[in-house]
Amino acid sequence: MQKQLDEEYYRLLHELQAVDFVLVELNLYLDTHPWDTQAIQQFNHCSQNRRQLAQQFESMYGPLMNFGHSYSGAPWQWNDAPWPWQV
């Protein structure tokens, strides 16, 4: 049966995309500014934040990552649609 995505899916996904984007930006910035402790602090703070958000997302919509970075329910959830280009 096809999984129906609700509004909450798109809201949570967007929130996760936003915090992950801040992390990408800070990561690239820190690659060339390794001594900016304030940015490192912000990076670590966002990282904690994204972990909680990802956990919440995964508990509702299944694993985000492969190779053991996410838990799976039974049956094996990784194969479940939708894939990113399908939503």
């Binding site: 967007h14 936003a18 984007f21 500014h33 304030q38």
Partner: protein
């Protein structure tokens, strides 16, 4: 798109060019060209805005609107045409 991220020039107009001449042409000079090394503690966008605009820092943001819509608004190169 009349902002400080655009530069204009007037190309030579030959007498035998069949397409109606565009008298003023433009090109982009986005902000990375003027920041040799990003200083620390720049002002930041909120996460949702950062994602939408593609950067965390307003100082690095470069707007771009399609040439087509600029022509329709008559707000550009084309306005000098004809």
């Amino acid at each position: 798109m009349k902002d400080d991220q655009v530069r204009y020039y007037a190309p030579y107009i030959g007498p035998f060019d069949p397409c109606p001449p565009i008298r003023i042409k433009s090109y982009n000079v986005p902000p990375q060209l003027f920041i040799p090394f990003q200083p620390p503690n720049l002002q930041q966008f909120q996460p949702a805005d950062a994602l939408r605009l593609g950067t965390l820092w307003p100082a690095l943001y470069s707007p771009y609107s399609s040439k087509q819509s600029r022509i329709e608004e008559g707000d550009n190169d084309a306005e000098a045409t004809g």
